[in-house]
């Protein structure tokens, strides 16, 4: 059964339509990239899945069930979430940022320590960083901490909203490599919002192309590249991929 699906979902902000009659089923255990020009509804789609945004119409499914809006925190604990700007808590150390959810879930100290070291090693962060504050880290290091934090409780679903957007090209390349490595080590259902088509093609098996709140096409990268559904997609791909 599909873990994540949108059924005839519409969302308005005032008069502006963010999403219109979207029917979409995400494939389990692969990375799906949501691409499209800015304002096409990418972030809205992502935030529908963890309940940060509620649909005006239609239904959102997570873990195969319609979202229960009375119990959002429980749902969100099973979904890793990372955003552009990272959003590390400045008053907490690296370790405290990573282990916040584990501490709230009352894990014992040993388990928390083991998990922290495991995650930091996984993303190539020196363990000596554990007691530093976020502002003492570079942008790339902060982004790694952000990924660790999203992975702490080992969620089955990941929502990533432009997570590599603010990084310089070299650091971005490095982290993208680590991302692929992570995904290779254990397959998860990942939804990645990005405005960068190259990044989407590099990191994701499947693509969803949005334009003005509608799904224009979805499928594997190769499918869409070979058979663009319409002129919009053709020109969108051209403008992004031609140097």
């Amino acid at each position: 059964m599909a873990q994540i699906a949108l059924q005839n979902v519409s969302k308005l902000y005032g008069d502006a339509t963010a999403l219109q009659n979207v029917d979409l089923t995400f494939t389990n255990l692969v990375t799906t990239a949501v691409v499209g020009p800015s304002g096409s509804g990418k972030s809205t789609m992502l935030q529908l899945i963890n309940g940060l945004v509620r649909p005006d119409q239609g239904q959102v499914f997570a873990f195969g069930k319609p979202i229960d809006y009375q119990h959002l925190p429980e749902l969100r604990l099973q979904i890793g979430y990372a955003v552009q700007g990272i959003g590390l808590f400045p008053h907490l150390t690296v370790e405290a940022n990573i282990t916040l959810l584990a501490r709230l879930a009352r894990w014992d100290a040993e388990r928390i320590k083991a998990r922290t070291e495991e995650l930091m090693t996984l993303v190539n962060l020196p363990l000596s960083y554990a007691l530093r504050y976020p502002h003492e880290l570079s942008g790339g290091e902060q982004q790694r901490v952000g990924l660790c934090r999203a992975m702490t409780l080992n969620p089955e679903i990941f929502l990533l909203d432009e997570p590599f957007g603010a990084l310089d090209p070299i650091t971005r390349n490095e982290i993208q490599r680590e991302f692929l490595h992570l995904q290779g080590s254990e397959a998860r259902t990942i939804i990645l919002v990005t405005h960068d088509l190259r990044e989407a093609l590099k990191l994701a098996q499947r693509l969803v192309v949005l334009d003005r709140g509608c799904v224009v096409q979805h499928g594997t990268g190769a499918e869409i590249l070979e058979n663009p559904a319409n002129g919009f997609i053709r020109s969108f791909f051209q403008s992004q991929l031609d140097p």
């Binding site: 940060l52 969100r76 979430y81 955003v83 400045p90 502002h135 929502l159």
Partner: protein, 497 residues
């Protein structure tokens, strides 16, 4: 909530405790020289006859004293017949002393005892030299010199039998300024003021060599000083205080006043001297006066008690209120406006408002200071929560924190530097404002300030003002230390930016 109730109960107990046992007689006084002396005479006479006495001297004004008497916060204080007729009973015409006694008994159940024997009426005074230069002899003459700078005590300025009637009777067109009575003499000496209102028995008249203008149109009414006793006070007490009837002449009281103002004697010494001379003392009891340092210690402790109980209550109420304002936007404006409004009420007025509800003493002072501490804490709490980076809020919700967890682990810690700054502001404001609490009998470091103002005694004012200033500085330091302990350094820097 329970903590708040416990706190308020504690405050009530502290306030109530000041009155002590039931047979203690509480003697009050207004905050001017003669008021202190007469009250001290009453107190010492009672003590001589074996009555336990508590002194609540230096209360802020006629209304505060009268309300305190009405509410049973004090049992007796010296008052003046003219003041009672005009300011309290608001009688349209002049009445005899007997009529006044009758009216007070009927309306308030109070006993206005027979007068001490002297009449302390208002007079208009100016430097003797200036009077001679301009040839001023009567108040009528004053109308010819509209250039003279007139500064009047606030009470005189606003009483029916004060300036408004005087200006009408004599056709005075000058616009006077209001000035604290104790400061008016200073201002006259420094030549920043020419004319002020005085009491005819003021010792200051001699000290500053002032000339009293003749009341040639017989405007001022009689102000016979007398003990005003609350209804229901033990008859024995009334009888003892009644012994003072007719014992003090105009000349004597001027001399007593001058002993304090000119010779620097304490009220206790002067009262003791008078009672001895008048042969009213039955037993020779040497008076023991507290040393300056001991009373400084007591005052400081009381001051801290006032300040920090109020601050604690302020924190307990204002931080949750700030959170509520942040979470429920609909109530944000009304709550902030209310708190802002409270702040605009002048402190002395706020203290006066408290008296009908809480009486005089520590209780109303704490409530007033509590109200003052609300706005800085409330505003800083709400503002700092609102201004948290929206990305952080989104992440904390998006990663699965409940609203309560987000508040406790993310939002409040991030807001902490600003909230702490608000508490710090409130604490320093409280230390300053608490000096005014002495006007309603709450004690503290304001006590010497209030007395010093009444006596125009700068060193006495400094006795309260300097410790209060030191306390404020120490509080600033304490909060700086607290910040360093509680808040990571880089977050403090962000606040500074």
């Amino acid at each position: 909530m329970r903590a708040l109730i416990i706190l308020l109960m504690t405050a009530l107990l502290l306030g109530g405790g000041a009155n002590g046992g039931s047979r203690t007689v509480v003697v009050g006084s207004k905050h001017f020289n003669e008021g202190y002396i007469l009250a001290e005479i009453i107190a010492q006479l009672l003590e001589d006859r074996g009555v336990r006495v508590a002194r609540k001297f230096g209360l802020g004004g006629t209304l505060i004293c009268f309300e305190a008497l009405k509410n049973g916060e004090i049992d007796v204080y010296p008052e003046y017949s003219g003041t009672l007729a005009e300011a309290i009973l608001k009688l349209p015409r002049r009445v005899s002393y007997a009529e006044l006694q009758h009216a007070l008994k009927r309306r308030f159940g109070m006993d206005l005892l027979e007068s001490f024997g002297f009449n302390n009426t208002y007079a208009i005074a100016l430097r003797r030299k200036l009077a001679e230069q301009r040839g001023l002899k009567t108040i009528s003459d004053l109308a010819k010199f509209p250039d003279l700078r007139i500064g009047l005590s606030y009470e005189f300025l606003n009483r029916n039998d004060g300036w408004p009637g005087l200006a009408r009777t004599y056709g005075l067109a000058v616009r006077p300024v209001g000035i604290e009575h104790g400061l008016a003499y200073q201002a006259i000496r420094e030549n920043t003021l020419d004319v002020t209102d005085v009491y005819t028995t003021d010792g200051d008249i001699r000290k500053f060599d002032l000339f009293l203008l003749e009341d040639d149109k017989d405007y001022f009414s009689q102000y016979l000083a007398a003990p005003l006793v609350r209804g229901g006070v033990d008859e024995r007490i009334t009888a003892i205080v009644g012994e003072l009837a007719g014992t003090i002449t105009d000349d004597q009281v001027r001399r007593l006043n001058a002993m304090v103002i000119l010779e620097g004697k304490s009220f206790a010494e002067v009262a003791n001297h008078f009672l001895g001379e008048a042969g009213l003392l039955t037993a020779e009891r040497p008076r023991v006066e507290e040393s300056k340092w001991v009373s400084l210690l007591y005052r400081t402790v009381r001051h801290l008690e006032l300040t920090f109980i109020a601050l604690l209550a302020g924190i307990i109420v204002a931080i949750p209120a700030g959170i509520l304002v942040y979470r429920v936007r609909a109530i944000s404006r009304p709550v902030m406006y209310m708190a802002g409004l409270l702040q605009t009420i002048p402190s002395i007025a706020l203290l006066a408002f408290m008296i009908p509800i809480f009486g005089i003493g520590v209780k109303p002072a704490i409530v007033a200071l509590f109200l003052y501490s609300l706005l800085p804490i409330l505003r800083n709490t709400a503002a700092s929560l609102v201004s948290i980076d929206p990305v952080l809020k989104k992440v904390s919700v998006g990663m699965g924190l409940t609203p309560g967890q987000s508040l406790r682990y993310i939002e409040l810690p991030l807001a902490a530097p600003t909230i702490l700054a608000g508490i710090r502001t409130a604490a320093v404001i409280n230390i300053g404002t608490a000096t005014l609490a002495a006007f309603i009998g709450a004690g503290g470091l304001g006590e010497p300030i209030v007395t010093g103002l009444a006596l125009n005694n700068t060193s006495l004012i400094l006795e309260g003002a300097i410790p209060a200033a030191i306390l404020a500085i120490l509080t600033e330091w304490a909060f700086e230390g607290l910040e360093k302990v509680l808040i990571p350094r880089h977050l403090l820097q962000r606040v500074a930016e």
